[in-house]
Amino acid sequence: MEIMNELLEKYFKGETSVCEENELKQYFKAGNVSSELKIYSTLFDTFDSEALEKAVNPLKKLTQRQRKPIRIWIRSFAYTGIAASLMLFLFIKYPFQVDNYAVVSGNKIEDTEFAEKYVEKKLNHVNDMLNKSMRPLNNSFENVRNDLQPMNKLINVKEKMEKIQNTIQIK
């Protein structure tokens, strides 16, 4: 009885050996369990019943798929073919385009100079338009600036005032 108590104590501490655990299992399996230790018998019964349980869906053995030997050159040939056809498709759909060109009345003119001159003309035109429409604004800015010029004198007055204050403090 005392031995069993000691074994159980060791068991719950996780210090028992396999032999000792088997001894405990056999003790509880035999059925002559003392009333003090009966509370543990259910625990050991469950372990036994769980050990007898079988999986409903037996696990399948995982085996590595056996690959069919494919000749590398056939594969590489296929991939190259796919890549080439893709390139061809892209080239047909989006041919190399010249960056500078113009389309006038549906006719494409691939002339860099013409395109540049057109852009230059347009930008200058926008410039002129802005100049024209912003002239009144420009004038008003100028007027405001001219009107604010006397304010610059105030800065001199402030400086002079500070100088006077400093000299008074020194005295």
């Binding site: 500078n100 057109y118 802005l130 800015f141």
Partner: protein, 169 residues
């Protein structure tokens, strides 16, 4: 669950594809016979010397430009096409996070300049000009700030610079 995600993804992709961008607007009308379409991409440096003249800053800025695209409608009688492109443009400006930089009007002439940042260093400037007989869209994209974009017109158009000085002070 997977199906729902796939369906949602497809719907999003379709709506994104349907939404008109500035690029798609230019592409749509570039092949239209009623429009004149001009694009300048590479070789901007040659162009820079022509437009910016001797000004170093101007040259620098022009070299920062990646591309300039211009779409012009010259047929004044064709008001339906003008109406539809204007409506489409309004949508693009609204959905494309453009902010109005300049808006000027004088005697039937109208200039609107929109600006937006498209990346860390990239920006787009869209200039819309409306005149009695002409409607133009100018799309400039490059690596430059708003002020730098505006300097494009500062050589001759000192007014814009003045305006920005006024804003900054």
């Amino acid at each position: 669950m997977k199906r729902i995600i796939t369906v949602v993804a497809i719907i999003l992709m379709v709506t994104a594809a349907k939404a008109q961008t500035l690029q798609s607007l230019f592409e749509k009308y570039s092949d239209d016979e009623r429009f004149t379409y001009v694009t300048v991409g590479s070789g901007m440096m040659n162009f820079a010397s022509k437009f910016a003249g001797s000004d170093k800053k101007g040259k620098e800025m022009m070299s920062k430009m990646k591309s300039i695209k211009i779409l012009t409608l010259t047929d004044e009688s064709n008001s339906t096409i003008l109406k539809s492109i204007t409506q489409e443009l309004d949508k693009v400006v609204q959905t494309g996070n453009f902010e109005t930089a300049v808006e000027a009007r004088e005697k039937g002439e109208r200039v609107q300049i929109y600006y937006r940042l498209t990346g860390k260093d990239n920006a787009d400037m869209l200039i819309v000009t409306k005149e009695k007989s002409e409607f133009s869209l100018i799309w400039i994209s490059g690596k430059m700030s708003k002020e730098e974009m505006m300097h494009t017109f500062s050589d001759n158009g000192k007014n814009i610079n003045l305006m920005y000085q006024g804003e900054n002070s």
